[in-house]
């Protein structure tokens, strides 16, 4: 099953660590808050995405399993 990266925007403080770790999936807006790729994380980036989830200082990121369609 594929997974997509999600953020709890209430918890997010805009540290920006995530965009450094997986720029392929996450960029920052003009105020420093993450803009996430809406599509499932491709397999070759899963390790990096998991690292971003673990290293977020506010624990605001998560990987959500996509619902099978």
């Amino acid at each position: 099953m594929t997974e997509t990266i999600k953020v709890n925007m209430i918890a997010c403080d805009g540290h920006g660590v995530c965009a450094e770790l997986v720029p392929e999936l996450i960029r920052l807006d003009e105020w420093g808050y993450p803009i996430l790729a809406p599509s499932p994380v491709p397999p070759y980036l899963l390790k990096h995405a998991r690292r971003a989830v673990t290293l977020c200082p506010k624990l605001a990121l998560r990987l959500e399993p996509d619902r099978p369609r």
């Binding site: 709890n8 925007m9 209430i10 918890a11 997010c12 403080d13 805009g14 807006d29 003009e30 105020w31 420093g32 808050y33 803009i35």
Partner: protein, 431 residues
């Protein structure tokens, strides 16, 4: 013929029938006479009945009520109980339909809440009402009346008054407040994690009033009014340049012109209407001939939302109106989500520079920011402001050209059409 043919909708108000006749609140005896006893026996089948009726939430999202009920019932069964919140907070400055409904037919709303509580397995209900309106006391009296006459399904009913911030009437914010927290939105939906962590049905007051009638009269009766996708009647709060500003009940599917006609028609030539609420959409006057349903207006990025309709006269400035509302909405954020508390003031500022400052660079920047801020908050507050401003750019496109060219706009100096309340400010707090 084994079943008699259904009569079609007679055009009379359903929720506000008693109010239309007497113009005063219905007490319990009058409610009982008009509607009959609480049909507690319908509760086990209520999800099916409401689903068959096709009832959709009248708080703004028009989400199928049957699906919400079944989700709360399902999560509640595994979580060991559920909770019911009647959302009558109505922090929309241009809306008055829930305040009127709670005042006029409190027992209809409370019956709906009790039936919904039976259906989802909740023993407790909280009715959340607009602070400082006297509604809390009126509801308290209605609840005492029910207890005195042993009316209802024996659910415990309390009343709460969340702060008057715009975002405090959002469903997760109301559940958060009722559970003892601040009246701020949360990241998790109330139907999974609501009051004190319980799966919670947060349902609009008007939705529950419809539900109370559906439980008594059935899905076929409900579907006599409205469209196939959005059956029933709906309440509209009509304001702005009309002859009689008030709340009106019409079948869903009524056109914008039908709704304005109920309000005595336009008081002067119109250029546009604001539909849904302050997180709603501008519609040009030529859209008034369309049915005002979620389906019919989807391509125009509009929806009846919470039933707010404000008529904008041709002489007013739609841009100046939108600047004031967008700036007020920006001030009403919960300071929780970065894209919202940074983005909304930036969007309001861009639009002000276009409207007042002939700033051409602001237009490109605004378009970019609308795309960036949309859907980036935990709740729908930023999305609503994005929709308001995006539809303003479309409907008032000619005005933008004139403003940027520095041509005069007489409408800039007219008194505002859209009301922007003074409170709440910081003194309101979040509890």
């Amino acid at each position: 013929m084994s079943t008699p043919p259904l009569t079609s909708y007679d055009g009379r108000p359903r929720l506000l029938a008693g109010w239309a006749a007497t113009n005063r609140p219905a007490n319990l005896a009058e409610h009982a006479r008009a509607n009959g006893p609480l049909p507690a026996g319908a509760a086990p089948h209520l999800v099916g009945i409401v689903t068959a009726a096709g009832l959709r939430g009248r708080g703004g999202a028009w989400f199928p009520t049957g699906r919400k009920l079944s989700a709360v019932a399902e999560y509640g069964a595994t979580a060991g109980g559920a909770y019911v919140v009647v959302n009558g907070v109505e922090s929309e400055p241009a809306a008055g339909k829930d305040k009127l409904l709670l005042r006029a037919v409190p027992h209809l709303v409370l019956d709906g809440a009790e039936l919904a509580a039976l259906a989802v397995g909740a023993t407790e209900i909280t009715v959340a009402v607009h602070r400082g309106t006297g509604l809390a006391a009126a509801l308290g009296a209605a609840i005492a009346e029910r207890a005195a006459y042993n009316w209802g399904a024996g659910r415990t009913i309390k009343v709460a008054e969340p702060p008057r911030w715009y975002v405090s009437s959002e469903s997760t914010a109301v559940a958060n407040f009722v559970g003892g927290g601040p009246g701020k939105p949360r990241d998790e939906s109330a139907y999974r994690y609501g009051v004190k962590g319980k799966p919670t049905l947060v349902s609009n007051a008007e939705t529950l009033a419809h539900l109370a009638l559906i439980a008594r009269l059935g899905p076929d009766w409900f579907r006599q009014a409205g469209t196939a996708e959005a059956p029933g009647t709906a309440l509209f709060t009509v304001g702005g340049a009309v002859h009689r500003r008030a709340v009106y009940e019409l079948p869903v599917g009524a056109t914008g012109n039908d709704i304005l006609r109920m309000a005595g028609g336009p008081a002067e030539p119109l250029q546009a209407v604001l539909l849904g609420g302050y997180g709603g959409s501008w519609l040009a006057a030529d859209a008034l001939s369309l049915p005002f349903t979620p389906e019919s207006l989807r391509l125009l990025n509009a929806s009846p939302g919470a039933g707010v309709l404000v008529a904008l006269p041709a002489q007013a400035c739609g841009l100046a109106e939108t600047v004031r509302v967008a700036a007020w909405m920006a001030s009403q954020n919960a300071r929780q989500c970065g894209p919202c508390f940074n983005g909304l003031p930036a969007i309001a500022d861009d639009l002000a520079r276009i409207t007042w400052g002939r700033d051409r660079t602001a237009l490109d920047r605004l378009r970019f920011r609308l795309g960036i801020v949309d859907k980036r908050g935990a709740c729908g507050h930023p999305d609503g402001v994005v929709r308001l401003v995006a539809t303003a750019l479309a409907v008032f496109a000619d005005d933008i050209g004139r403003h940027l060219a520095g041509q005069g706009c007489a409408g800039l100096w007219r008194p505002p059409v859209l009301p922007v309340p003074q409170p709440p400010d910081v003194s309101e707090g979040w509890r």
